[in-house]
């Protein structure tokens, strides 16, 4: 078996472990090509208030139609929400607009870091699960607050790796490793902060089930090539995890089985 194993989120089987965002691409064609290159089966989208007095405005220039045409499962977000109330309302709007119960739940608690607000997030998740949503919470990498989200009925967690759009990679690998260790069987997706393919590979090697990213691809000089790079890195990281990465050692351990010295000089 040389392909990563399939996985399941809310009963939906997925082969690919790359979830990709649709924002910030230089053109619709590049977005379409990047989605194709990524192999992603899940694409995130958003909602925006329509322009006042402008009928039939197309605020996305057809990007969403392309995302739909890609055949991917759409994952609408609640980006920009600052309270549970806002997020709950926007979630209902999103469910109707995109005809899906999947929801990337974002409730931000700090403008500077765009850090998730764990309290408002939990309140929103609790209500939205009751309302029939399948919630993908963008959350902190804190074990206890993650457990509370699971208790509320979330079946997947999406902790941040670093602040959104920062490209800093995994700032707290220990916390992510702890989540993996303490929450076996729970689908875990690193969401936000990934900048380079190596970051994604690292997350996958930690045993995460998937990676969600947007800016790292959209802002690359060549987004399509970068999408391919991330796809390769995610596959490599997952295969590495499944194959079992060797244990680290403090000191050298010779790999070539040569006893003694090859030459006796002097």
């Amino acid at each position: 078996m040389t392909e990563p194993t399939a996985w399941t989120v809310y009963g939906t089987p997925l082969q690919n472990r790359f979830l990709i965002g649709s924002a910030g691409y230089p053109s619709p064609q590049v977005l379409q090509d990047a989605i194709r290159a990524s192999g992603a089966q899940v694409v995130t989208v958003g909602l925006k208030r329509a322009l006042a007095g402008v009928a039939n405005d197309r605020p996305d220039n057809g990007f969403v139609a392309l995302a739909l045409a890609s055949g991917a499962q759409l994952l609408p977000n609640t980006a920009g929400c600052r309270s549970a109330r806002e997020a709950i309302t926007l979630a209902h709007l999103a469910r109707e607009l995109y005809d899906t119960t999947w929801l990337k739940l974002e409730v931000v608690g700090d403008e500077h870091t765009l850090q998730p607000d764990p309290f408002e997030l939990l309140a929103a998740a609790t209500q939205l699960v009751k309302d029939g949503f399948e919630v993908f919470p963008y959350c902190l990498d804190d074990l206890v607050s993650c457990r509370r989200l699971l208790d509320a009925g979330c079946e997947v967690l999406m902790p941040w790796g670093a602040p959104i759009g920062s490209g800093q990679g995994l700032l707290n690998p220990f916390a992510l490793r702890t989540l993996r260790e303490r929450l076996p069987g729970v689908p875990l997706i690193v969401d936000a902060g990934i900048g380079a393919p190596s970051h994604a590979a690292q997350a996958m090697e930690l045993g995460f089930d998937g990676v969600l990213l947007n800016s790292a691809v959209a802002q690359a000089r060549d987004p399509v090539r970068m999408a391919r790079a991330f796809a390769s890195a995610i596959t490599a990281g997952r295969l590495g995890f499944e194959a079992g990465v060797m244990a680290t050692q403090d000191f050298a351990v010779p790999s070539t089985p040569v006893p003694g010295h090859p030459f006796l000089i002097g």
Binding site: G21, L31, V45, G46, L47, K48, A55, N56, T89, L97
Partner: protein
């Protein structure tokens, strides 16, 4: 001075109940904010654009008159989700704020 009216109260009770939400103070785009009501001006707001109010003006009618594609938008009335199926029977009151949302890209 207008009294905020719950969404449920203005929908014919013989129909299924519309999920109501408490008003919210703001949204990412500011669109759900219960902004200044028009008071005696007898206006309704569509995405912060003031428009004339009239008797029996439904949310669906206002959207149609403004050329909003009914099946490609989602709506909130005074910060509460207004489902598509409830727009036709939801009569607007002076000072109401109808907010229209569309699909966009997102991360």
């Amino acid at each position: 001075m207008l009294t905020p009216m719950s969404l449920d109260s203005r929908i014919d009770a013989s129909h299924e109940e519309t999920p109501g939400r408490p008003p919210v103070s703001s949204t990412p785009s500011g669109g759900l904010a219960r902004s200044d009501r028009s008071g005696g001006a007898r206006l309704v707001m569509l995405n912060e654009q003031p428009l004339p109010w009239r008797e029996s003006l439904s949310a669906a009618a206002l959207l149609a008159e403004q050329g909003q594609p009914e099946d490609r938008v989602a709506t909130a009335l005074n910060g509460e989700f207004l489902p598509r199926h409830a727009r036709a029977r939801t009569l607007l009151q002076p000072g109401d704020e109808l907010t229209v949302f569309r699909a966009i890209v997102g991360g």
